[in-house]
Subunit: 237 residues, 2 copies
DNA sequence: CGTCGTCTGTGCGCTAGAGCACATATATGA
DNA sequence: TCATATATGTGCTCTAGCGCACAGACGACG
C-alpha cells in the first residue's frame, strides 16, 4: 500500500461525494489517498483497524475462511461503500477478512477522526448507516443465492457486481480466485465461464476478463443481482 | 397479535435489559407488551414498519422469498435482538419478510419514539448498532454455511440458535417449516432429523422437537454456530 | 528460443441433495 | 369413532457439483 500526496483524483468514492460541502471540507484535511494492490489483505479476521477506507476504483472482497481453509465471499465493497463498518458500529473488529480483488485507489481516514465525525450525527452518519443497511442486503442475498442458485448464475451476479464497481470492461482476475470468492471449484468456474464465452457475454485469457455484453450476463444471472442493485440505488440515491 | 396491559413479565429482552435505568425509564411509558403467534408475518418485504419489536421468548425468522416461491432464512431474531433495524439504519424498509417461528411475547415501541431516542446517541444507540453488527455476522455465517456445509450440519446450527433464544427444551416447529427456513427439501430435513434422533440428540413428534443432548448437537454442527454465538457474546456482553 | 510456472480445458467416478411418488402415522373435529 | 387434514418415512431417478488426474496453452524470463 503506497501513499499519494496531493493530486485530487477524478476517481472518487460515492459516499464521500454525497456529503454536503461543509462536512466534506471538515473531513478533507484528514483524507489520504492510497493505492491497494491485487491480493492485498486490508484486514484480517478479528484484527482491529487503524483506518476506515473509502474505495475509489479498487474493489475489496469480504471473505470468511473456515478452519479447514475453504472460503467464501459474503460481500463486495467498491466506490459506493466503505471498508471497516465495525469502527462505527461499535464492535471494532469483524470475524472475516478483507482482500483486494481489483487493484486501485482508495481514500482512508483515521479511525479516531471517523468516530468523532460519526457521533456528530450529521449526513455522514446517515450515509454510513444507510450503506451498512445496503451491505446487509447484499450479504443476505449472497446467503440466499448460495443456497438456491447455480454456479453459472452466481458467476454472472459476481461479474455484474464487480463490473458496476470498477470503471472498466476488463477485470483482472483468475478463475482460481473467482472460485475462492464463490466458494466453488476452479473447474466449475471454468465451465461456467466457458459457456458465457460461447454465447459472447464475456471473453477471457489468463486472468483478464472482458465484459462484452452486459445484457447477456443480466439475462443469465438470477434475480439476486437486481435486488442488490435496486437496494443500493434506493438507499444511496 | 394481541396487546397485553400491565403485568411486567419476567421474560424480557436483553437489549432493553442492558439499558441504564435512566434511559429505560424514559422509554418505559412507550413500551407495549404484545404476543406473537406462530406463523404470523411481522413485516413483508418492502413494507414500512410502524413499530420496532424487542422479542421476549418469541423467535422471528428473517426470510427472503424468491420470485419462484422458494425461500431461505438469512437470520434469526430472539430476545437478544430487535426487529426492524431499517427504522434506525435509515432505509425504512428491507427487501425480506419477518415470520414468527416460535410463538411468544415481545415488546414494541413506536417508530417515531425509537428514532427520537436513537438520535440522542446514548447507550440505546450503541446497543442497537452493536446488535446490528452481530446480526451481520449471523447473516454472513449463514451465507458461508449455505455454501459449504451439509443439511445435517445446518440443521444442528439452526436448532442450537433457536434453543439459545427460547427458554425451553421443546421447539414447536414442523420439519416442513424448518425446510423452508434452511431452503432445503422437507425430506432432507426428515432424514437429517432422523439421524439426530437415532443418536439421541433430539426427539420429535409432529411438530414438537425436544432437545435431549445439546452437546451432541454441538458436535455435529459446523463451526458456524460457535462463531455466531461468540460474536453475540463479545458484542452484547 | 527454450524452460518453467501459471492458467485453463476436459474427462472421469462419486455423492448430496432435488424432485417426485406414495405409504404411513397422528391429531382434530364433526 | 370415523373422516380428514397434517406430519413424517421411504424409495426411486436425476443432476449439479466435488475431487482427482492430467493435458494443453500461454507468458515471463533466462
Amino acid at each position: 500500500m503506497s501513499v499519494f500526496v496531493g493530486s485530487h483524483e477524478q476517481i472518487e468514492n460515492r459516499l464521500l461525494a454525497a456529503l454536503p460541502v461543509e462536512e466534506y471540507e471538515r473531513l478533507l484535511p484528514h483524507l489520504e489517498h492510497i493505492s491497494f494492490s491485487l491480493g492485498e489483505v486490508v484486514y484480517e479476521s478479528g484484527e482491529p483497524l487503524d483506518y476506515i477506507y473509502f474505495p475509489g476504483n479498487a474493489i475489496v472482497s469480504l471473505l470468511y475462511t473456515m478452519e479447514n481453509g475453504s472460503s467464501a465471499e459474503m460481500g463486495l465493497v467498491g466506490n459506493d461503500g466503505v471498508l471497516g463498518i465495525a469502527l462505527f458500529m461499535g464492535g471494532d473488529t469483524m470475524p472475516n477478512r478483507a482482500v483486494v480483488q481489483s487493484a486501485g485507489i482508495a481514500i482512508r481516514m483515521k479511525a479516531k477522526i471517523l468516530r468523532e465525525e460519526f457521533v456528530r450525527g450529521g449526513k455522514f452518519q446517515q450515509l454510513l448507516l444507510r450503506y451498512t443497511q445496503a451491505l446487509i442486503t447484499q450479504i443476505s442475498q449472497t446467503a440466499v443465492c448460495n443456497r438456491l442458485h447455480s454456479v453459472e448464475q452466481q458467476l454472472c451476479r459476481w461479474l455484474l457486481l464487480s463490473h458496476d464497481r470498477v470503471r472498466a470492461d476488463e477485470l483482472v482476475m483468475t478463475q482460481e480466485l473467482i472460485a475462492d470468492m464463490l466458494g466453488v471449484r476452479r473447474e466449475g468456474v471454468t465451465v461456467a465461464a466457458g459457456r458465457l464465452q460461447d454465447v459472447g457475454a464475456i471473453s477471457y485469457v489468463r486472468g483478464h476478463i472482458k465484459i462484452l455484453d452486459r445484457r447477456k450476463l443480466e439475462a443469465t444471472a438470477c434475480e439476486c443481482y437486481q435486488v442488490v442493485r435496486d437496494e443500493f440505488d434506493r438507499l444511496l440515491r
